[in-house]
Symmetry: C2
Subunit: 408 residues, 2 copies
């Protein structure tokens, strides 16, 4: 028998929540395989139902039939590939509290981190030499900073500290504070506005990684006075495997130098001038020719958000994670590592478990897909657009069963 | 009446050439719109017939159904996205005279230029401070060098000189010689082996842009002793709009520093280590998560080359461009800017014309798609995989007619 805690929500109560879920209709806008409860949209978002037809159209009509003419044809239906990065940027901007001309879409998150960090260092006070970051930041963020700093002759010190100690390290030597808002392992969410204010008070420039934020809840970059940010297209934005990422550059920093200066960020790409002259706004941070197939999938994926109230999105996300935690409260061998305070939580719940890798293997076998993160983390992501409370109930039941099995 | 030169090939003679074309069967492996003669594969390659089904499979099965499991599933049919960049790299390697572990696929050509140039400068003799390049190099090559040099505090001098004067500038101050093998405007082809040898004799490192070479004719990078190269996935490789580009790093330079160091180039991405440790070989130059949709299209596009003899490809390419030039020989107002010496020609033919923009507009209206390049260039690319001599005949006829119209 599985252990029942007094607060354990009942299935019928959860079904009643689902019945009045204002986002319930969004589930039909995704294609999910039968028999699967998908708790890994924080790693790869599910397939929006409109994407296959869009890709087929882009491939057969725009590429196959219209060929080179699609670059500049001002037709309906997604052509005019030159403007596609800007159209996608405008859709991302709404989700992160940015203005369209402050967002550039294209390249991977890692490459955008490089662009953002090089620009952030350039606008930081000249004498400051420390890049302050969370020691548990997602590895690629650390690697990009290491690579850039080596390229710059080791001029900076990358200082990774525990998240809890960040404010203690905010001294006059800090040039840039580079943080991921939601920890990819624990799901802990930082207060973007408060940390930004703190960094600014210390004279530092901020660079936020919104990989686990954008599309999971409303982000208000301009409301927080943020400087630079990057984010991922393939997690909560559901843009497909390796989808183009985005870069936010606050308008006041648009004159920052563009380290990765390519022809698609030029003021007039087809002038074929010998000298780089940046395009207006964040478009200058678009580098080479955009990957139109991947970018088109992201473009269509973002349309799912068009009628979504971001407050309702956050409310449902918290309800789902709250429910999951309540259902698993007190289960032996599971140690919650995600904050139970909702304001400190993203849209994921993680537990330590002594046999986490094997536990996740068994869960996936049962159709409950989360993921394992080294060394001992069971990670479950909750995408409010396509998950129900009833699914959360069944997923929690599977977790209990597997944990029980492993104790036996 | 159009003017006929004595050497003008006759249509029936050209049809006879087509009848014994060893590559004629490749035409059926492309989807081209009816009524179009496509002479712009040097800008955007045509759609390989197998691509739409591959994209649909990747989207619905690999992404939609298998979801996150596709990253590591070692199944047939294109899954195992972690290894996809390496599989595509091996297919590119064969076309450019490289070994598979010397090629990295992903990111745009511009981003790869940045990676290659930063690595080339790092392995060049420390005292050398000049990046020597062709003043008529494709603009993004110049922009990338400008951006990198500015990031490095202007430590280098970017020296653009006319291609004809390159050897005169190969002094002891030259760190890197950065050249595009085939000029995007004139179609002039440099002798990759000879120029590489000359650069090496002068103590410089070479960086070749193969945008208009790879897939148009055989390239032998290792035969030439080349150091670094980049190339484009969406021109003669037919990988689709903005397809991932490639980077070649000769094995002897694999220890060069990786400026764009991301988690997908890490020796063990899922170890989630805090410090970057490069993967073996050129894989270290893969940066962020690959754009799987675009990369899968390129993967399938490259399969078209699997049974293609690269010598036959070059022979047909020269026969097509030779035929086109012979048909247009002596036409008033058309000034050939492409070398007539076949060894100095890529797979394109360009003419100056006083009303080039309007002439190309009229040609496109008639279904002959080439392109206009500022200020006065009519550019025609010849992809030997899907063009026939008979099409070249009809295209040349259309050019003659339009030129005649514009004189009237």
């Amino acid at each position: 028998m599985t252990q029942i805690t007094p607060q354990r929500p009942a299935l019928d109560a959860l079904q009643a929540l689902d019945a009045r879920d204002p986002l319930a209709h969004k589930r039909a806008e995704f294609l999910l395989p039968p028999g699967v409860i998908y708790l890994d949209g924080n790693s790869l978002g599910a397939l929006p139902a409109a994407v296959p037809a869009r890709l087929d159209h882009v491939t057969r009509q725009e590429w196959g039939d219209a060929l080179i003419r699609s670059w500049t044809a001002n037709n309906e239906g997604g052509r005019d590939w030159m403007a596609l990065p800007d159209r996608v940027a405008a859709k991302v901007a709404r989700l992160i509290g940015a203005r369209p001309h402050e967002v550039a879409v294209g390249d991977s998150t890692s490459v955008n981190l490089f662009k953002a960090l090089s620009a952030a260092l350039a606008v930081a006070d000249a004498g400051r030499r420390v890049i302050l970051t969370d020691a548990d930041n997602f590895p690629t963020d650390l690697y990009v900073a290491q690579g850039l700093n080596a390229l710059l002759g080791g001029r900076y010190e990358l200082r990774p500290v525990p998240a809890a100690d960040l404010s203690a390290h905010l001294g006059p030597e800090v040039a840039v504070v580079m943080l991921t808002q939601v920890d990819y392992r624990t799901g802990e969410r930082l207060d973007l506005a408060a940390v930004t204010a703190q960094a600014h008070a210390a004279g530092a420039v901020t660079l936020w990684d919104l990989a686990h934020s954008a599309g999971a809840f409303e982000v208000d970059l301009n409301g927080a006075g943020a400087d630079f940010a990057v984010g991922c297209g393939y997690k909560y934005l559901n843009g497909g495997p390796g989808a183009p990422a985005f870069l936010f550059v606050a308008e006041r920093h648009h004159a920052a130098p563009v380290a990765l200066s390519g022809w698609m960020g030029h003021a007039d790409p087809f002038e074929m001038a010998r000298d780089y002259a940046p395009a207006a706004g964040a478009r200058r941070f678009v580098v080479g020719t955009p990957m139109v197939l991947s970018l088109s999938a992201l473009d269509t994926a973002l349309d799912v958000f068009a009628d979504v109230d971001l407050g309702a999105l956050r409310a449902k996300s918290l309800s789902l994670t709250e429910t999951f935690m309540a259902l698993l409260d007190g289960i032996p061998d599971l140690t919650l590592v995600t904050p139970s305070d909702p304001s400190r939580r993203g849209s994921q719940v993680s537990y330590r478990h002594p046999q986490a890798r094997e536990a996740m293997r068994r869960l996936v076998e049962r159709g409950v897909i989360g993921d394992f993160r080294t060394p001992d983390i069971l990670r479950f992501g909750f995408t409010p657009l396509y998950l129900s409370h009833a699914e959360v109930y069944h997923a929690a039941q599977a977790v209990q069963d597997v944990v029980q099995e492993l104790r036996a």
